[in-house]
């Protein structure tokens, strides 16, 4: 088999799917890209058994064939070429690939493509079409809040909840939680599934160029189709915790504050907090919030005062500053609303402006116990 392809075009497509390939693989063939040539259409796939991603591109060819080519060496080579046509020639016995550029020839080993793990077929799938930018934002706003606990795999993913009223995306690690809701998007059927972190990261990077994404899913797998890309992944099996029950409904104490100034204050003060717990203390009274931190081991101490709009009882509440910083970083509004009920109950962070129609963002963070 033989085909001619633009070097930069091939590199661009391979970089989209190259992120799947792990540095150490149990199956040696997974270190390869699978090239599936069907005359003028070339489909390249990569897989880690959990996630498989493929891209389709046009090439000049009149042959057909299936071959696995080492990914690392191919990517490294492609990166060095300026734009030019490359010719790939693979002999019928699959003994090796010969690549010809303007500069010379390069030979690399290849494997029989039929040994590459097959795409799982999606049976009894239902599907929804989502605007690509909405999906990208949903992933970006939720992904950081997922957990890393191997003992609780369900929390390592993002929970997709589709209904006829809205689409909801939820992530939590049991200390913080993000609920991103789109009321302007609907699904015909009600469905829930948990998407693992890795494919979402790949999606977030590559989905932005597309207009719409077609999401189809069944109980075990989900498939995302956009532009020339198909991403197929296994879902996380298990029951997602009942997140709705832990979001406090009654929050009489409301703080309205400039997001950027709160963020920079907390960033500064948290430098002085304990390096392991990152604990800061917020003291709310009158029209002022006091942010303080101390690290007794090194006698570090910081204290700042910020003007704000606060309605509610005076109170003192402790947080892990890293959680709050992550959340404030992932919001884009000018002002945020912090809704609190008690020092030992969850605090909510909600953007106060600059929200799209149909967008509903809620971030929640659990406090740390302060001993007074």
């Amino acid at each position: 088999m033989k085909f001619i392809v633009s070097s930069t075009r091939l590199l661009k497509e391979l970089q989209i799917i190259g992120g799947i390939i792990q540095t150490t693989n149990t199956l040696p063939i997974l270190d390869n890209f699978l090239f599936d040539l069907n005359e003028n259409e070339l489909t390249v796939s990569a897989s880690d058994l959990e996630t498989t991603m493929s891209v389709t591109l046009e090439v000049v060819s009149d042959s057909k064939g299936l071959v696995a080519i080492p990914a690392r060496i191919l990517l490294d080579t492609l990166k060095t070429f300026p734009e030019q046509p490359l010719t790939f020639v693979i002999d019928d016995k699959l003994t090796g690939v010969e690549v010809s550029s303007d500069y010379g020839k390069y030979a690399l080993a290849c494997l029989d493509g039929s040994e590459f793990p097959q795409f799982p077929e999606l049976k009894d799938a239902s599907s929804v079409t989502i605007p690509a930018d909405s999906l990208a934002v949903a992933i970006q706003k939720t992904l950081f809040a997922t957990g890393n606990d191997e003992l609780r795999p369900v929390m390592s993913g993002v929970f997709f909840q589709f209904s006829s009223e809205n689409l909801t995306f939820v992530a939590t690690d049991a200390h913080k939680l993000v609920r991103y809701k789109r009321t302007d998007l609907q699904s015909e059927n009600t469905a829930e599934f948990i998407m693992p972190k890795k494919p979402l990261n790949l999606l977030r990077q590559s989905v932005v160029v597309a207009d719409n994404v077609e999401v189809s899913f069944n109980n075990t797998n989900a498939c995302f189709v956009y532009e020339n890309v198909v991403l197929n992944c296994r879902l996380i099996d298990g029951r997602y915790p009942n997140y709705d029950a832990v979001i406090p409904k009654e929050n009489p104490n409301v703080l309205l504050i400039d997001r950027a100034s709160l963020l920079s204050s907390i960033k500064r003060v948290s430098i002085f907090s304990n390096k392991t717990t990152h604990q800061i203390r917020l003291k709310l009274a009158g029209k002022e919030v006091n942010i303080s931190a101390e690290d007794l081991d090194f006698s570090n101490k910081a204290h700042e005062r910020l003007a704000c709009d606060y309605e509610g009882e005076d109170m003192e509440i402790g947080f892990n500053s890293r959680f709050i910083i992550e959340m404030l970083n992932n919001l884009s509004s000018d002002n945020v609303r912090m809704e609190l009920s008690a020092p030992n109950k969850a605090g909510l962070l909600i953007p106060a402006d600059n929200v799209d129609d149909g967008e509903d963002v809620l971030m929640l963070v659990m406090p740390v116990m302060l001993n007074s």
């Binding site: 200390h175 392991t276 690290d295 030992n344 001993n371």
Partner: protein, 422 residues
């Protein structure tokens, strides 16, 4: 050759570019527990006294010089001590009392000196570097000692030299109730004629090994090449060798953070009652968890220790996310114990230790914790702070006595029995 080169590099002068030598005092209260008891009851003066556990398993925590004349020493089983010295007066001791007197001494030292380190209830290191010109270090130290004895009524000894090791050995030589100054440059000759047992760090085991090698006097170590010591004792060999040369660069550190908290219990009679063991462990874990919360600390490593009647000691530890919550710690401690206690043999001792401590509050979990639990902890902690450690506790631990009592984060060293200190 090596010896000279090495000495030069490690010399206390090196740290200050050869410009200045340090002056370190080591102060030690003589037979501290006995002295405190004598303050309370002067009839004890001049009599042999033993302080320590009175049960069969008890050991001597402290004894007066009169008792030492009979061959009694601390850490000896009380039963043996009573046989050797039947007329001795045995006192159980009261650690709260000792802590109080220890604090009185600390208070005086704090007032007088720029930098001190309290290594145990009755031992202090003081750094007087740079004060010689203005006060005269030996004179200053003697006056400090006189003031402590006058104001507290407790006899105290000190050694003054260029570093901690030499000062500590000097204190040992000065005792009882005396003082000793080792002039700069005379450290080596001072140490040379002494037994190797006097080097801090040389315990019974190391001593035995050294004696088997035919080493008795520190002078022999001084003359040995460093390589010989490291080949026998590994890394420690180098440290011992340096100390024998009178070289010790360790600084006087005022405050050292507690790295772990622990509690353990030796039974009067070995037991195989698993229910009892379990309830003791729970009571221990509950009390330590309270100490954590009171000290505003979190732990990330739990260790359970079991010593069987044949003195085989087994420990098992587990890393957990930072926590100070009973409902995470207690089940984990139970789990460790179930895994650890696999020999159906009588148990002599059990213990629990929390390490990897860090300052901070407990991060509340969205799904595992609920408001009632969190409120319950703060309510129970409030009761305990006001009415004592054992004012409220889990019913399973009710039968367990003598656990808790001390605040491990007060900055004071624990009032441990001297035999446990090493």
């Amino acid at each position: 050759m090596i010896l000279n080169k090495d000495l030069k590099r490690a010399s206390p002068l090196g740290r200050f570019g050869g410009a200045m030598s340090r002056s370190i005092i080591h102060m030690d209260l003589d037979t501290f527990f006995v002295s405190v008891e004598r303050l309370i009851d002067s009839r004890l003066n001049g009599k042999p006294i033993l302080i320590g556990g009175t049960s069969d398993r008890g050991v001597v925590a402290a004894c007066s010089y009169e008792a030492r004349a009979f061959g009694v020493h601390s850490a000896m089983p009380m039963r043996m001590a009573k046989e050797m010295c039947p007329e001795a007066i045995v006192i159980r001791g009261n650690s709260a009392n000792y802590s109080k007197h220890s604090q009185d001494v600390t208070e005086i030292i704090r007032e007088e000196v720029p930098l001190y380190e309290k290594t145990s209830v009755d031992e202090f290191y003081i750094d007087l570097t740079g004060m010689d010109k203005f006060f005269g270090n030996y004179k200053f130290a003697s006056e400090l000692r006189q003031r402590i004895m006058k104001e507290t009524g407790l006899p105290i000894s000190f050694g003054l030299s260029v570093n901690k090791t030499v000062s500590k050995v000097a204190t040992g030589e000065a005792k009882p109730n005396n003082q000793l100054n080792i002039d700069y440059g005379t450290e080596k000759p001072f140490l040379a004629p002494l037994s190797v047992r006097k080097i801090p760090m040389v315990g019974a085991k190391t001593y035995q090994t050294l004696r088997n090698l035919g080493v008795q006097k520190i002078q022999t170590i001084q003359e040995m090449p460093l390589e010989m010591m490291t080949s026998v004792f590994g890394k420690n060999g180098e440290v011992i060798w340096r100390k024998a040369q009178g070289v010790d660069n360790s600084p006087v550190v005022q405050y050292s953070e507690r790295k772990s908290i622990s509690t353990e219990r030796t039974f009067n009679k070995d037991t195989i009652d698993v229910e009892k063991l379990r309830s003791i462990l729970i009571a221990m874990a509950e009390n330590l968890a309270f100490q954590l919360r009171r000290g505003n600390k979190l732990t990330a490593c739990l260790t359970v220790k079991v010593r069987y009647s044949d003195f085989n000691t087994h420990t098992l530890q587990a890393r957990i996310p930072y926590t100070a919550a009973d409902h995470i710690i207690i089940p984990k401690v139970k789990e460790l114990f179930e895994k650890l206690y696999d020999r159906r043999v009588l148990v002599r001792l059990i213990g629990v230790r929390f390490s990897h401590l860090v300052g901070g509050g407990y991060q509340i979990n969205l799904f595992d914790d609920n408001e009632e639990m969190i409120n319950l902890y703060s309510a129970m902690d409030k009761i305990r702070q006001r009415f004592g450690d054992r004012a409220v506790q889990r019913a399973i631990g009710l039968g367990v006595k003598s656990i808790g009592g001390m605040n491990p984060f007060s900055g004071e060293p624990p009032a441990l029995l001297p035999n446990r200190r090493r």
